[in-house]
């Protein structure tokens, strides 16, 4: 009796769902994270305040609570057609964006001051300086922490199993209910699935890091 071969379809679906969930959430987290990081260093005070509040609130909110806020709150705000998968993407993406914003800000911190000064001296505006000079250089140092954040996101996506998303985490409860299998074996296979995803991710990010590395 082998858990994996007996339930191969369930494992495959769960695996793909986790990958999909991670991919969409990462995309949202990156876009929001860069945007909010831009807000936090912008010359407009209102945007800076918004950025600070966003980061402070989200970093201090338990993810489970955020899931509750999103799954209960968004339908109340009128987003009724959303199914649980997209709600989970919202929760995971927004949560991780706060951390990505901070990683990018630390990255911006490492860009030598002369770069921005030179950009300004040739007449670049704030948006130009940030998007063409500072962010591309910041990206280099920000990649390792962003990589670990995306890996953390993958692990966090297991929480979505409690909110009606049939991903890898949900397998554990589902296969338990059907009993008969050794719980440790189920756990082991799920662990392997997660390791495949996280190891692939860290490989990808290491590749990216090497590609972008320059001798300074």
């Amino acid at each position: 009796m082998n858990v994996l071969t007996d339930n191969f379809a369930a494992f495959r679906d769960g695996f793909l769902k986790t990958v999909e969930l991670t991919a969409y959430s990462s995309l949202l987290a990156l876009v929001l994270g860069i945007l909010i990081a831009g807000f936090r260093v912008s010359p407009v005070p209102a945007l800076r305040v918004f950025g600070t509040v966003w980061v402070t609130l989200l970093r201090n909110t338990p993810l489970v609570l955020l899931f509750l806020i999103v799954t209960l709150g968004l339908p109340a705000l009128g987003l009724k057609g959303w199914d649980s998968f997209w709600l989970a993407v919202m929760a995971l993406g927004c949560y991780t964006s706060a951390f990505i914003c901070e990683a990018i800000r630390s990255g911006i911190n490492t860009v030598p001051v002369g770069q921005a000064e030179a950009a300004r001296s040739i007449g670049m505006t704030f948006t130009q300086t940030l998007s063409q000079i500072v962010l591309p250089q910041a990206a280099r140092t920000a990649i390792p922490p962003v990589g670990s954040l995306i890996i953390a996101l993958t692990k966090n996506s297991a929480i979505a199993s409690g909110f009606d998303v049939m991903e890898l985490g949900a397998l554990q409860t589902q296969l338990n209910a059907d009993a008969g299998y050794d719980i440790l074996v189920i756990f082991l296979w799920i662990a392997v699935c997660y390791l495949i995803i996280t190891l692939t991710l860290s490989g990808l990010f290491r590749l990216l890091e090497n590609r972008l590395a320059v001798a300074r």
């Binding site: 209960l72 339908p75 009724k80 649980s84 409690g162 909110f163 009606d164 409860t173 209910a177």
Partner: protein, 298 residues
């Protein structure tokens, strides 16, 4: 820093004053209590189930009863007073009285569906009354007294919904609770639902129904009746498509206690307490009391 510390102080002060001025009682005190007939059961002081290890252990002390807490008119705990009410709670009180325990000697414990078997076998609760369907799978792990009520899976829909029979559910969106038997059943091919949504609780399903996100909520009719009573615009179809005999769960192998519980159920069915309890709870949905099921001493 200063600002933050002041904020913390303010919050703390608020918390302290809030605790200090907490009101006693419940917001619904004036609503209930008038129309509901007072239910009380004569405590059998001569109760003796000395062959039961569970009973002997709690004799003269307090009995731990497991139940649900979020099902109005069935197994419900008032959040502001902590009082238990509902049909399951009344059945539990009847049995406790027959076993020699009055209300003051009952320790209520809220036990969710997933934890029922482990709570019973570990002694976390002495017996359990809470929409506990008797089936062979469960009989392997626990024993059942009763049944004390015969429920069935049904549908909760909008009053002017076009769903009139269980067959109309084809192609519709239905909601039930994660991992529950009703959810598993409604997913079967023959019902042909478009989507079976799994939620963390029935209230969330009912809210989805009110919001128009799903077309029906499905679970035992007893549970649905409670929500129908809470929400004016909803009704229960009243055409159950499964049989759910509710039993009293107890630790496996305690035959003496099982017999005592069966006796208690039969006594209270005969002396009219069963019907009184029904009328005061589930009966509020307007559906008259059915004939109580025959106790099955398997």
């Amino acid at each position: 820093m200063k600002v933050r510390r002041t904020a913390a102080a303010v919050v703390l002060a608020m918390a302290v004053t809030a605790t200090a001025c907490g009101k006693e009682g419940s917001p619904d005190d004036d609503k209930t209590g008038k129309d509901a007939p007072k239910l009380s059961y004569k405590v059998n002081t001569a109760a003796d189930v000395k062959d039961s290890p569970v009973w002997s252990k709690v004799k003269g002390k307090r009995i731990k009863i497991g139940t649900k807490a979020d099902q109005p008119n069935l197994g419900y705990e008032d959040p502001s007073t902590g009082k238990r009410s509902g049909f399951d709670a009344e059945i539990a009180r009847m049995i406790a009285a027959e076993l020699g325990f009055d209300e003051q000697h009952i320790d209520w414990k809220t036990v969710p569906t997933e934890a029922r078997e482990t709570q019973l076998s570990s002694g976390g609760v002495d017996f359990y009354v809470g929409t506990y369907t008797i089936n062979d799978e469960r009989k392997k792990q626990v024993d059942f007294g009763g049944p004390y009520y015969l429920a069935g899976q049904d549908l909760l829909v909008d009053k002017d919904s076009d769903i009139k029979t269980p067959e109309d559910i084809k192609g519709k969106k239905v909601c039930s609770v994660t991992g529950s038997t009703p959810l598993k059943r409604i997913k079967e091919k023959k019902y042909g639902v478009a989507k079976a949504k799994a939620q963390q609780g029935y209230q969330l399903c009912v809210q989805d129904l009110n919001n128009g996100q799903v077309d029906a909520v499905t679970t035992d009719d007893t549970i649905l009746k409670g929500y129908a009573a809470q929400n004016d615009g909803l009704r229960v179809l009243g055409k159950p498509f499964s049989e759910e005999p509710y039993g009293v769960g107890l630790k496996k192998g305690d035959k003496a206690l099982r017999d005592a519980i069966n006796d208690a159920i039969e006594t209270n069915q005969k002396n009219g307490n069963w019907k009184k309890a029904y009328d005061a709870t589930l009966g509020k949905s307007g559906i008259p009391a059915p004939t109580p099921p025959k106790v099955d001493r398997y």
